[in-house]
Symmetry: C2
Subunit: 222 residues, 2 copies
């Protein structure tokens, strides 16, 4: 297994997380680094989605990944095996990352060397949505087995995201998942949400997602 | 749709949540009510598991359900349609329930009229594990599509639970999920964890889970 750097981050000391997040975005703009905050339930497929995205876009963008988890280094090892620079962030039991914790990760990763950095947040549909990490765009993944009612139950996550990836569409025949309903519920929370239906396992639907990501990164990096 | 009672609970004012949880357990013991705190990721199948359990055990136990969510009443409506008394608890955006919030639910439900009360916690593998709700037993559901590595990433959830239900085994052929690994990882966190493999969709494996639940409830209620 690849050795990955593990950093233990501490909860931010900043009183105003939003101001700190704005400061991080100014730094990212100056350094020409596009930061995506990727959120989902546990097991929705964040890491698998990243592995395929790295494989497809690795010749167009320099990509660095920050994997956040309560414990373990399995995701960072998977990403490192896929050929991208990855660090593992341990949150000391915390259910989310704030702006200060994100910046500790950016410093350890050496974010200015990358065109695209993805923060894979702790698997959780509640707490991560409450904290601006300083990312340029928030992206959520909802997987087919979780059910199409999630935007009804976890409103904030869908409100704060710019794009929603519906993953695991390869198993649609085995679940009662209504694509029209999930789109309607998600747009009820956020009419501007971009929607992508994909299978990280088979690659179906990835081109639209990757075109969007590439266009967003290029627009930000100038 | 069935009308369900919705209560908005406030964060507990008690400084010592653990003491409050112990007090609730003494009350439950006196009232002969067995309280289970059911936890999982979003979409792992808590409600579907409860609907089947109510159908199978409804003639042996008087069952009441408390559905906790950030928003929506879809789960409580589903439970009410299955024939059990259900109330919906809204957490005001909070990612978990503490003992005081749980007791507000018990009071609204009229818990002393039931042999078994299940608190369906907010879908989240992190925060709910940090708070003793006053339940007699903690039960977690992990579903096959989430992956067998979850006990590595979310240690506390598996440490605090008495039983772990592996759900959605009907879709095992479509996912890379290793039953031996998940059992090993889970028992690494908690050697005493009872394991049940089920499909809430087909009913496979439910008898062992329901036998355990029934025996636990009868032992507690005396």
């Amino acid at each position: 297994m690849d050795k990955v750097k593990v950093i233990e981050v501490k909860e931010s000391v900043f009183a105003d997380n939003n101001a700190e997040a704005e400061r991080i975005r100014r730094r990212l703009k100056a350094e020409k680094t596009f930061l995506v905050n990727l959120m989902s339930s546990p097991g929705a497929g964040k890491t698998t989605t990243l592995v395929r995205t790295i494989g497809d876009l690795g010749d167009k963008l320099r990509i660095g990944i920050m994997e956040a988890d309560i414990d373990s280094t399995v995701d960072a090892e998977t990403i490192a095996s896929a050929g991208a620079k990855a660090i593992q962030i341990h949150t000391g039991g915390m259910c989310h990352l704030d702006a200060g914790m994100t910046e500790q990760g950016l410093d350890e990763l050496g974010a200015d060397a990358f065109d695209l950095v993805v923060l894979e947040n702790v698997g959780n549909l509640v707490c991560p949505a409450e904290f601006d990490t300083g990312a340029v765009k928030n992206v959520a993944i909802l997987s087919v087995p979780e059910g199409h009612d999630k935007p009804l139950k976890y409103p904030l996550m869908f409100q704060v995201c710019h794009a929603l990836i519906i993953n695991k569409i390869d198993v649609l025949p085995y679940f009662d998942f209504d694509m029209e309903k999930v789109a309607a519920y998600a747009h009820m929370r956020n009419p501007d949400l971009e929607l992508f239906s994909v299978s990280a396992k088979t690659g179906e639907g990835f081109q639209a997602w990757e075109n969007w990501l590439l266009a967003q990164a290029r627009a930000w990096n100038g």
